[in-house]
């Protein structure tokens, strides 16, 4: 059922077996525990604790070194520590995600399905060429270029638990990487023959309290980079070359989880861990606040002209749509597709498809929409699957079911992305749970840019027409200037 055909352009179909990766069993943040450090004085240890762990570390150190400090000091620091923990637990009860470890947090908010168990943790096509970057479970990033024999491998001391990678537009070399502790921007010289660029090619961008980074987005003009962390209520706007950042802070939400910059550069979607997301306009950087009725905004994607935003909400099996026009006033989000469970009869037997949505991807021409459905991990016959829709943006928005993408038996889709400039239609790249990366082409004549000399699209195996449920649920917006 896998629709894979090769034409003149054939990007490499890769496979990363889990066994081939050298996984490190790194549990501690540092190798400190391997050394004996008890000969140090209390002052030295306190200073080290202050440096490594801040106030909590210092208080912990004082509380634990019982015989050396006066009793009143250890008692009072223990009390302060308990008070701090109580306050933070209260804060955590307001925003439950703050109690997660950073790895769990990335897994929770990542666009990748089941991120912590994934061999390929992040994937990014270069916006102008046919090269792509793959982040793997062993914290390395490989860059594949069909025109070059070398595949550079990027490794850095700070590059741990890569959540997202993205190439800088209008640039050949810059790759931004969001990971557990910081943001890295690699400069991979496309002409270099080196397979292991040194750590000097990476710029580390970090801001106190802004980690782990779960989502990043370059502006389409390539001048700015925004990054988001669920731990930080501020969204960072970076001028990467100058290494300066502007925090954009708004009250409410308790963090920022997912970012998406519209292709025309005018808006940025920023979702929070709460039932609230914001849409920033990028000229004066003001935002509209969109409270959701149910869960948080899980995923979103923009139409090529930036006028329409499709998004999904956690625990709901529908796709919402928002339009952005120049007329101010309250808009409402409209449900454009209902993906609740449906049974399809196929030659192999009935299959049940539908349910919650993990991520959305819209091809750069706005003609195919891929939806990664989570499935149900408890039911054997309801594995994750990618549903594909035909879409049209203008003159009126249309969304028609088109087909499904399934992998080899046992392989589940984890991550998907459209090629940014595939000439014969759309090319969907899917990363599977088996560690394979395959490319699924959709050949069609673009409605907006008619091309001659190409035959029609191949017939798709599962094309089931299904009337979409245009329920009149709507969300309301408040305007905040």
């Amino acid at each position: 059922k896998e629709m894979y055909q090769s034409l003149d352009f054939s990007p490499p179909s890769l496979s990363f077996p889990r066994e081939s990766l050298k996984l490190h069993s790194r549990t501690e943040n540092s190798s400190k525990a391997a050394f004996l450090d008890h000969s140090e004085t209390l002052w030295m240890r306190s200073a080290a604790a202050w440096r490594d762990g801040g106030l909590t570390g210092l208080l912990n150190e004082i509380t634990n070194s019982h015989p050396e400090v006066p009793k009143w000091l250890s008692m009072s620091s223990g009390c302060i520590l308990a008070l701090l923990q109580w306050v933070s637990s209260f804060h955590g009860s307001l925003f439950p995600h703050l109690t997660l470890s950073s790895e769990d947090m990335i897994a929770e908010f990542s666009q990748v399905l089941n991120w912590s168990d994934c061999v390929v943790r992040a994937f990014a096509w270069h916006p102008h060429t046919d090269k792509f970057a793959v982040a793997l479970l062993d914290d390395s990033i490989k860059i594949y270029n069909p025109k070059s024999a070398t595949t550079p491998t990027l490794k850095h001391r700070l590059q741990r638990n890569v959540a997202v990678v993205q190439w800088k537009p209008l640039c050949a070399s810059a790759l931004a990487v969001g990971c557990q502790n910081c943001l890295l921007v690699w400069h991979v010289d496309p002409c270099s023959l080196s397979t292991r660029p040194s750590a000097g090619c990476a710029h580390v961008l970090s801001h106190p309290g802004h980690a782990p980074v779960t989502s990043i987005a370059w502006s389409p003009s390539g001048s700015l980079l925004v990054s988001a962390s669920p731990m930080d209520t501020a969204m960072m706007v970076w001028d990467v070359a100058a290494e300066s950042c502007v925090p954009l802070q708004r009250v409410g939400g308790g963090g920022v989880t997912f970012l998406s910059w519209s292709p025309d550069g005018s808006h940025v979607l920023a979702s929070t861990p709460s039932a609230l997301f914001r849409v920033w306009e990028t000229r004066m950087w003001t935002c509209e606040r969109w409270p959701c009725i149910k869960g948080r905004c899980q995923s979103g994607c923009w139409s090529p002209d930036g006028s329409r935003l499709l998004f999904t909400v956690q625990d709901e099996a529908v796709i919402y749509s928002l339009t952005f026009t120049n007329t101010p006033g309250p808009h409402a989000a409209v449900v454009v597709a209902d993906l609740s469970e449906t049974t399809f009869s196929t030659p192999d037997g009935d299959i049940i498809v539908g349910g919650e949505i993990q991520s959305l991807a819209w091809d750069p021409r706005g003609e195919r929409l891929a939806v990664l459905l989570k499935g149900d991990p408890r039911a054997a016959d309801r594995s994750p699957i990618i549903a594909v829709f035909k879409t049209r943006v203008s003159p009126i928005f249309e969304l028609l079911p088109c087909g499904f993408v399934q992998g080899e038996p046992g392989a589940e889709p984890r991550l998907m992305q459209f090629h940014p400039n595939f000439r014969h239609g759309a090319l969907l790249t899917v990363c599977w749970s088996s560690g394979r990366i395959t490319h699924v082409p959709f050949y069609f004549l673009s409605a907006s840019i008619p091309r001659l000399g190409l035959s029609g699209s191949p017939t798709l195996p599962h094309v089931q027409e299904r009337p979409a449920d245009f329920a009149n649920q709507s969300l309301f917006t408040e305007f905040i200037s």
């Binding site: 102008h128 209008l170 001048s223 100058a242 290494e243 000229r283």
Partner: protein, 632 residues
């Protein structure tokens, strides 16, 4: 004895006249005194507009930094800061009340008399305020506090202010902590001097009851330390808030009209304002507006591409593109000149090490000190509002990089390079060629300034051999020459001198790109306009300038690439996040490099293969091909 009548007579006849005369004189003297007052009031040492600058002043060596710190204006500035700090400290002392309220207090002496004693708590608060003010003014110079950087992101003023407020609080609290610590150390050692002086002048007595405060026991008063810190924080907070508000208001974007239908408004239009040299801030705001309009507003772009109504000339586009291109060409020229100076120096070093190994080994390690690079302070325009940027033959924008020709540590090579070359001279037009520059060995010993004038053009053959002194100078001159050489060598060996005169790494690179925010906006404005012209330019206005835009950018790209190959140019400065001083000028060169590449890619990505139809030199075409294939 005078009777009453007699007195009346005297008053009427004499005193009245005298009074009238005095009043008349007073009236007569009024205009001059008013004039003096007007002059004095116009003489504004502390005018914020004169001290705030959009171009940072970068000291290239320690001595230059000391020069900045000891500049008379800076001294006055520090003094005023001290006084203001003292006033604020007095206010806070009065507000705190309690034991800090007054300078003197009545105290009973042993013999029962009531005397006024000195209240040292009040005094220490006042001195603390003065100290914090002084250290603030010093730090202001070191951290370039008067530099105003423009934000990468446009935001409304209130939101920007709100976003920066936590940083201001944090900065003032930490800096107050450090200042108070330093103040306490100073007071511990030197505190008795102001105390005795105050006691003497105000005739106060030292109280005998409490500890004197310049002892350890006196200073370990937690409540005193807290009050010192909190009043210092208050003082710094007010200053930082003022600074922050001033920066926010100053850098707010201003929308200039692109064209006006009324002739009297023509001076306020963007194409006209862009070419203005006078206040730098105006030029910066105009360039910022250009970058924003090219990116965000199709309507205003349309006006840029429009033709003039009678005549049909693209005046707007021509003026804008010409100004941007001249800015970029200027930077290119500056980079090439700098690179050539450095390259000459490098070559001279290798020559001298070959022939005169013995002498060079003695002076090795001081090469930097002796280098013909300008060791004096790179002069960047001190104030945007007063200094003009361009004038006459020497372009003003190169002015920040023009070395100080009167510096005693200046080699003739640089002098010749910096001097305007005359038309007839053989150096004309070739002065930037590294080949000719390289032939001149290290020119410390040959200060033949005649080359500068070009009056006696040296034959190419004589140039390489000028170690043997082409024309024998007199014995006396040679003797003086040797003496001078010896003095220099002697000085060069002193550690302190070397410390003071040694160049700070990468400072010259920073100085070179000090005003690059203007170039960044010019690049962005040009590239966005060219991109938009692909679909919006109805009359093909941009087509005519496209070759010159492309070649200008490519030449600049080459110069920037070469510059980043120099040592220290590509080393990243340490980021300091918790300071009110703006350090973005340290990374401007990286921002410029990135913007330049993005700008070229923006044009190549938009036009694609159509660029093959553009007239370019073969070398540039090759370079452009690299961009088209995404290999840069």
């Amino acid at each position: 004895m005078f009777s009453a009548e007699q007195g009346c007579w005297f008053i009427r006849k004499v005193i009245c006249w005298r009074a009238a005369a005095s009043i008349a004189w007073a009236v007569l003297l009024l205009p001059p005194s008013t004039a003096i007052f007007v002059i004095l009031s116009k003489f504004s040492v502390l005018h914020p507009i004169q001290t705030i600058s959009v171009i940072p002043t970068i000291a290239c060596s320690k001595i230059a930094l000391f020069g900045q710190l000891l500049h008379p204006r800076q001294l006055v500035n520090s003094l005023v800061h001290c006084i203001m700090g003292m006033i604020v400290a007095w206010c806070s002392a009065v507000t705190i009340g309690f034991r800090y309220e007054t300078l003197g207090h009545p105290c009973a002496q042993t013999d029962g008399y009531h005397q006024m004693c000195l209240n040292e708590y009040h005094l220490i608060l006042l001195l603390g305020g003065a100290f914090v003010g002084f250290s603030h003014s010093l730090l202001g110079v070191i951290h370039n506090m008067n530099y105003v950087s423009f934000h990468t992101v446009q935001q409304y003023k209130y939101l920007r202010f709100k976003g920066c407020l936590p940083l201001v609080v944090k900065c003032s609290a930490t800096q107050a902590l450090y200042s108070v610590r330093n103040f306490i150390v100073v007071y511990y050692f030197l505190g008795y001097i102001p105390r005795t002086w105050i006691c003497k002048t105000l005739n106060l007595h030292l109280g005998s009851s409490a500890h004197p405060l310049d002892s350890i026991a006196g200073l370990l008063d937690l409540s005193l330390l807290y009050h010192l810190w909190i009043s210092a924080t208050f003082l710094l907070f007010t200053w930082y808030i003022t600074l922050l508000l001033f920066r926010i208001f100053l850098t707010e974007g201003y929308s200039f009209p692109v064209q006006s239908s009324f002739t009297e408004d023509a001076d306020h239009c963007l194409p006209k304002v862009l070419t203005e040299k006078q206040p730098m801030i105006l030029k910066f705001l105009a360039l910022q507006d250009l970058a924003l309009l090219s990116q965000h507003s199709p309507l205003r772009r349309c006006e840029v591409f429009s033709l003039s109504q009678p005549g049909g000339h693209p005046h707007n586009w021509n003026a804008i593109s010409k100004e941007c291109l001249s800015l970029l060409a200027d930077l290119t020229q500056r980079l090439v000149a700098y690179h050539d100076t450095v390259a000459t120096n490098g070559r001279a070093k290798s020559l001298s090490s070959g022939s005169e190994r013995k002498t060079s080994s003695e002076t090795s390690g001081t090469e930097d000190f002796m280098s013909p690079r300008p060791t004096a302070l790179m002069k960047t325009p001190a104030s945007v509002f007063t200094r003009s940027i361009a004038g006459g033959q020497q372009s003003p924008l190169t002015a920040p990089f023009t070395p100080d020709l009167d510096s005693p540590f200046m080699s003739p090579a640089l002098r010749r390079l910096a001097a305007p070359v005359e038309q007839g001279s053989p150096w004309y037009g070739t002065v930037q060629s590294p080949h000719i520059m390289r032939r001149v060995p290290k020119l410390w010993s040959t200060s033949t300034d005649s080359q500068v004038n070009g009056s006696s053009p040296p034959s190419p053959a004589s140039v390489p051999s000028d170690k043997q002194e082409p024309s024998k100078p007199s014995f006396l001159a040679q003797f003086l020459q040797n003496r001078r050489e010896q003095v220099k060598n002697f000085l060069a060996k002193r550690v302190l001198i070397v410390y003071l005169f040694n160049k700070l790494p990468e400072a010259s690179s920073q100085a070179l790109f000090a005003d690059s925010q203007a170039h960044i906006w010019a690049l962005e404005g040009l590239s966005y306009l060219v991109q938009a012209s692909f679909s919006e330019d109805q009359f093909g206005v941009v087509q005519t300038t496209l070759p010159s835009i492309l070649s200008c950018m490519l030449v600049l790209q080459e110069a920037v690439d070469r510059h980043f190959k120099l040592p220290h140019a590509s080393s990243k400065p340490v980021r300091s996040t918790s300071s009110m001083g703006d350090s973005t000028y340290k990374t401007l060169r990286f921002a410029l490099r990135a913007t330049l590449k993005t700008a070229i890619y923006r044009i190549t990505t938009t036009f694609g293969d159509h660029l093959n139809a553009v007239q370019l030199s073969a070398e540039h075409r090759k370079r452009l091909q690299q961009f088209l294939e995404y290999k840069e």
